[in-house]
Structures are given as C-alpha cells and as structure tokens.
Assembly symmetry: C2
Homo-oligomer: 322 residues x 2
Amino acid sequence: MEHLREPDDIVALAGGVGAGKFLRGLASDTGSFTVVVNTGDDITLHGLHICPDVDSVVYALAGEHDPERGWGRRDETFRATTELRARFDSPEAWFNLGDLDLATHLFRTDLLRRGATLTEATAALAGRFGISARILPMSDDPAPTMVETVDPDTGAHRTMHFQEYWVRRGARDAVNAVRLDHARVAHPAPGVLEALAAAPAILICPSNPVASLAPILAVRGIREELAAHRDRVVGISPIVRGAPLRGMADKLMPAAGLEVTALGAARAYEGLLGAWVVDERDRDLAPLIERELGVRVGITNTIMSDDDDAAALARFARGMIA
Amino acid sequence: MEHLREPDDIVALAGGVGAGKFLRGLASDTGSFTVVVNTGDDITLHGLHICPDVDSVVYALAGEHDPERGWGRRDETFRATTELRARFDSPEAWFNLGDLDLATHLFRTDLLRRGATLTEATAALAGRFGISARILPMSDDPAPTMVETVDPDTGAHRTMHFQEYWVRRGARDAVNAVRLDHARVAHPAPGVLEALAAAPAILICPSNPVASLAPILAVRGIREELAAHRDRVVGISPIVRGAPLRGMADKLMPAAGLEVTALGAARAYEGLLGAWVVDERDRDLAPLIERELGVRVGITNTIMSDDDDAAALARFARGMIA
C-alpha cells in the first residue's frame, strides 16, 4: 500500500503503549504524519517475527488495541499460547501471543520470509489495519536491545534480550546496563532520515526514554538529525510527579543514570530538544528544566484519560513549534 | 521421547481421518505398534509446516480429535485463521487452521527450523500428546502429491497441490492424473523399512487408496517391502457398497482407473495383499475378490460407530494373519 503524502509530515518517535495513546490524539488532530517506531524490543519466538512496539502503535491507531491490558488486540483470546505452554512446554511461551495477534505475526513473518523488508512488511500491516499514517520501523536491521542484569536471588550476572528482562522476568532483576550495540550499527530504515530532515515538527512520544526511545536515537544518523533540527523537536514527559503514567517507564531510567522525574526524562534527550512538555503537576520543575537543559518548557495536562485528552496534548505539543 | 518397544511391532499404513478411527481401535487392542503416515498432503502455509494426516492420527490416538468435523482438534476455535482471511486477505487462508492446531504447527515448524527431521519432530509431537505408538512419517523428504485437474467451468488444465484440489477447490475439478513424482524419489523415513521387514502384521488402514496410501507405497522401497511380505499384509476396504464410509475416499479412485467398490480398492494394492477385509454388506463380492486378486477375504462389520467397533475391526484384521 503506497500512501500519497505531503513531504513535510510531522514525525513522531514512538515506543509502544504510551506512544499509541498519544498517537491516537495526533491522528485526530492532524491528517498525515509519520511514526518512527522502536524495534529494539523485536523478538523471534516460535519462528515468528514479533514487533511489540510497531504492533502497539498499529493496533492503537486502528482502535484495535486493548486499553485495559495495555498491549495486544482487544477481544483477544490466548488459546494457541496456552496450548504451547501447557501441552508443548514451549520454552518461548512466556510471551503471550493472542490468537488474533498471531495472525499479525504470521502475516509479517511470511512477508519477511518472502523477501520483504521490515519497512515493507510494516507498511503492508498498517494498510491492512486501514491506517493512513506512515509507520516506519527505526531500522530494517535487527537491533535487539540487550540488558545486563543481576539476579536478585542468586546474584548471577546475565545479558538477556530486553523482552526477556521485561516480560519473562517482569523487570525484577537489577540492571547494570542497557546495551544498544546492535542499534548503534543498524542503518535507519529507508525514509527515516529524509522524514526527519523535512519534518516541520518532530515529536518524542511519552514513552520510556531508555527502553523505547534510546534505541531509536542510537540508530546511525538519527540522533544527529534531531540535533541538527532541535528547534523543531518537542518531547512529552512520560513521568509525572516522579512516577510513570503507565507501564514501567520508570524502570531502567536509574540504570541509565536518569532520575525518575520530568527533568530526568528530559535529560535523556539532552542536546536534542527544542521544547519539553511537562504535566501541570510538574509546573514547579519547569524553571529548573529550562535552566538546566536550555529548552522551552510547556505545561499542560499530559494525563490522557481519553482520545480528547490525547488530541489536546498532541495539539499543545505541536503548538510548541513556533 | 524415546520409546522402548518390541522389535516386532505391528505396522499400520495410514492416511488421515479414516485411519485415525481405526488406529484408536488398534490401540485398545494391542499395546505397541508403529504407524507409517502419508505425508503427501503436507503443505507449507503462512510459513508453517502442516502435516494433516500425521496430525489427524496423533489427535485421534490422543482422543483430541473432533469426531463430528472429522479433522482437527476438538473444542477448536478459528480466530487466527478468520483474521488472516478477513483482515489480511491471505491467499493461503483457505486452509482452516484452528487456534489449538496452530500450536501444533508452530511447535513442529520451530523444531524443523532448528534442524530436527520430520521423523524427530513427529516423535516429539506424539510424545507431547502422550501417545505410546510410534508415529513415523513415510519420508523425511518433501513428497507433495500433485493433481492434474481440469476446471469444470473454464476447461483450464492445471497441476496443483493435493490440498489445493482437496480443500481449496473442494475436489470439484475433474482429475486427469494424480502425480506422485516427488514420493517416487523420496527416501523412506528412518525405521520404516526395518519396521515393515520385522512386522508380524502390516495393516493397510481404511483410508483413501489413491490420495492417502498410494503416496506411501510410492516411496522408494516401501512397495517392495510389502510385496516381499505379502502374506503378512492385511488391508481393510474403505469402500462399502460402492461408497466411502466417510470423507471423499471415492474421489480420485476413478482417475486412477479404480472402480469405487471393495474390489476396486483392493486392486489398488494388487500384489501386496495377503488378506483383504470387506464389510458384511459386501459379502457377495468376496468370491470375486479372492479369485481376481488371489487373496483371502475376511468379512466383518467395518463400520466403526465407536471405539469398540474399531477395536473389533482391528482384532479381526490382525486375526487374518495366521
């Protein structure tokens, strides 16, 4: 599916769930935009190529997401995964694949096996979900985010895939480092750098800065592109009053040397931001952030209780670009 | 899962559904046996390696089959396939893959991708279903049965995979030939010839002789092994009073030059049979079959209304070997 689009799409950099919510607001506020999605948490399980963040964004934009669970499809069942776990004792069944979700993974994996790039497979997927926004993976190259952990019970050191740390182990290990070695040698997907160069605004979604955004920024040339156009870059803090709005956005921030505050999250993007949006309840942090990071700080409601809230937040963020 | 087994297992040659019913009877009648299963209808769809006959046999022996539908798992749902069909418009979604069934295909495909042979993957599958019988694919080599068809509407000639003819097109095309070229160059799976050579009895299940059994017999050396031991070979007619007991066992028989009778089915195994079991209602055909094919004909009830019927039929068939 090929989209006719303006050359000057707004670009949003996105992780998974938090981004999905925000992007629904952006979609209702603007016609055409491009999303560059983290693929550092992509993983192959049961031979299927799974892109958790791409799928969260696609499902959210299509209104097919499960708002309560926070990931996957709504009206989902888990019969195949339950069978893989119970009968087949599959060592990979710790990752819950819904039965509808499986259709997505089968569709994508089959396209990749037939020679499609991840960019092409993602465009096809988005097309099947009727999404008009352009969804780009950050890279067509495999770029798994690895986590160096210390088992809290045994003290054993391990380096594991991000999903294993996040989902299988429930983020319960101490983290010594988040390794983006693969992302650092990955090339940006076709169109990513061009979209960033031409974008009138680059929005950093309220996603986990370490788990979701750092992998995107580690891909060759992406950080430099943002730095070159920082006057057009607006980030939205995923942290409000020292805690994540949803999910585990606070996890890994300390391991990356970032305090879990709207200031700490902003520091993850030091040198890249023209503006930073914080929640009204973090109003008191605004002068400090402006002084420390030299960015304009916007203050608004960042709690997206519904799509209207998300649209208002997206509008506010866009408005930060003069 | 490795089985301890007697070297002199009974061997059954099996297609899918009809065989599954019979094998449930054999399992209740005898402890240890080996099943050599047709893999001519195996097909790769959505990148998954699907073995319809192997799975029918495994599900039946485990009591996990759907007796009404005649294929697949009981208590099955079809959410992933429905999604592949409706949303993804998948050109391969004409084959119904249940959600529980998908777990089987993911398990097997992943094993194959990691280097297991089909024999090994089948043994692992059977183990997960708690089956004590040894289930052997006829071959580890791909051996798709192809069908030369004539479209009844357009007159167009096509050569297609057996499953496409059988499932996608509902066996509605005229058939010029069933091609077993791949089976003819396939090597028997490890253990098949040895099992046949040592078997005190070789049972040909009441499956479609053209679609299910001919591919097995086409594999290198298998026909010769039966011919060498024909005194120990007993076949059970899938045809009663000129019609199949279930499924489409009559389909393809005319294309192979076989009349749809208990005699026609026996002719499919000409030179290979020591004995042939026909239904009581075909009692009148017995003398003709004995004379024409030079085999002993056993007459019993072959309609398997329940497992007891199937056990009685299996016992009867074994009893045909002196």
